[in-house]
């Protein structure tokens, strides 16, 4: 069975890792080998990871002898290799396909803007931090959120990011949306995103891969509650 020849090294509370796990579930590849590593204990910089990913980042993924790092790469690889099993994640029709790719790649910017706020202290050494910079990053995230509220309004209720079917765009972007609400984003201020979140949070592939430590309790600092 294909899943048995797969290994995923991952960490809890990582959008990139979550994307890969959703994709594996959607392609019916449950049963893959996996190892949960701790970011706090710097296990992502351990020799075990560096041997597979010189960047010392998670997720890292092996399928037999094929090694694929980078979450989007893992997702695209899985859809390409297992096209005919599980859910089809890349639509065939040109319009839907184009919209799917467009949202998928805008998802990189979306994640970057999220990270610039919630990971500010992680990325920026203490002596270089400025309230003005964090404020600018928050403003940038607010603009980005406005774009996605707009995209979801245009799609209509009950719709996924690229149309009537769940796609790779949802696989890669949903984790970002889940993180937004985890960190306190106001559902009242972003109703379309809240609706999208509610639509997907109980989807089997998403529920099965929900970050385990999120189940233990809420986030300590709701960094996004005021934006």
């Amino acid at each position: 069975m294909a899943a048995k020849s797969m290994t995923l090294l991952w960490g809890s509370g990582s959008c990139p890792c979550w994307r890969a796990m959703i994709a594996l579930e959607e392609k019916n590849l449950q049963g893959y080998n996996h190892k949960l590593l701790s970011f706090d204990k710097m296990e992502h910089k351990s020799q075990q990871v560096l041997d597979i990913n010189p960047r010392g980042q998670l997720p890292t993924f092996k399928h037999g002898d094929t090694l694929v790092n980078e979450s989007y790469a893992i997702c695209l690889y899985l859809e390409s290799h297992f096209k005919s099993q599980g859910n089809q994640l890349i639509p065939d029709g040109p319009e839907e396909q184009a919209l799917m790719y467009q949202r998928m790649f805008e998802g990189l910017t979306f994640y970057e803007k999220l990270g610039s706020v919630i990971y500010y202290d992680w990325y920026v050494p203490e002596g270089e931090r400025h309230d003005s910079a964090l404020k600018r990053n928050k403003d940038g995230l607010v603009v980005e959120l406005g774009l996605w509220e707009g995209y979801l309004s245009k799609q209509g209720s009950g719709s996924f990011l690229a149309g009537k079917s769940f796609s790779l765009a949802d696989v890669v972007v949903f984790p970002t949306v889940a993180f937004l609400f985890r960190f306190g984003l106001s559902a009242g201020r972003y109703p379309k995103l809240e609706e999208y979140y509610a639509l997907l949070k109980d989807r089997p592939s998403i529920k099965a891969s929900w970050p385990p430590h999120w189940l233990e309790g809420p986030e300590e600092e709701l960094l996004l509650k005021d934006i």
Binding site: P54, R55, H63, G64, D65, T66, L67, V68, N69, E70, S71, Y72, A73, I74, L76, Y77, S80, H81, I90, P94, E95, Q97, A98, L99, Y101, Q102, M104, F105, E106, L108, P125, G127, E128, H130, S132, A133, L147
Partner: protein, 223 residues
């Protein structure tokens, strides 16, 4: 087909260049195109904002379809025109996996180049630190070493024996690095790859027009 396509682009922008290379490789010459000036702020003009609310280039239309992300446009073109022109996605699991991995590794590559080149443009004066400038330079050096490693033992292309989406997406970034003073001595594998591909027809034809006039700024010469 190409007649239903329009590309708004700017010279010297790796994302724009990728789409131009992909269009050539897929035999879609004859597409409508308009060269805009970043310097004059034309990427923020109404004409662009109507297609791309982000005010960024490239902005690409195929009939009613709009694609404003270079990777999205390249993947769309390869998928929709699979059977014409160059095959840009290889056969074989290992090569496909490597190709996808490399195109996403190109993100930190481009980002780290930008953090060095555009530091003063992105960071307001009161927030600048020598320590940050140093850190960004070190990060770019480390990044370039990773790519030297990726290219070690490579043939003419980034993945296997054929030109692929990895080359479409990444060649422009290496060219940009070298254009801005990146050292060919310190990064011989990158330089060799650059020299091998710069005369490929799709690349030569779409070489940024503003680069033909003379050398660029040597901002990256110490990296």
């Amino acid at each position: 087909m190409a007649k239903d396509m329009t590309l708004l682009w700017g010279s010297g922008s790796p994302p724009c260049w990728r789409v131009q290379i992909a269009l050539e490789e897929k035999n879609l010459q004859g597409y409508n195109q308009k060269l805009l000036s970043f310097e004059k702020g034309e990427h923020k003009s109404k004409e662009v904002l109507e297609i791309n609310p982000r005010g960024q280039l490239p902005a690409f239309k195929h009939g009613k379809i709009i694609l404003n992300e270079s990777y999205a446009a390249c993947l769309y073109l390869e998928n929709q025109f699979k059977s014409q022109g160059t095959q840009l996605i290889p056969e074989g699991a290992a090569e496909v996996g490597l190709m996808y991995q490399l195109i996403f590794e190109a993100q930190p590559l481009a980002q780290k180049i930008g953090e060095v080149l555009y530091y003063n443009w992105k960071v307001p004066e009161g927030e600048r630190h020598d320590s940050a400038v140093q850190r960004n330079k070190e990060a770019l050096k480390e990044e370039m070493k990773i790519w030297e490693g990726h290219l070690q033992g490579c043939g003419d292309f980034l993945v296997g024996k054929s030109f692929s989406l990895a080359d479409v997406i990444i060649f422009p970034v290496f060219a940009y690095f070298i254009r801005n003073g990146g050292s060919e001595e310190r990064y011989p594998n990158v330089a060799a790859y650059y020299k091998k591909l710069r005369d490929r027809p799709s690349i030569k034809k779409t070489w940024p027009p503003t680069w033909i006039d003379g050398p660029g700024m040597g901002t990256l010469k110490d990296i």
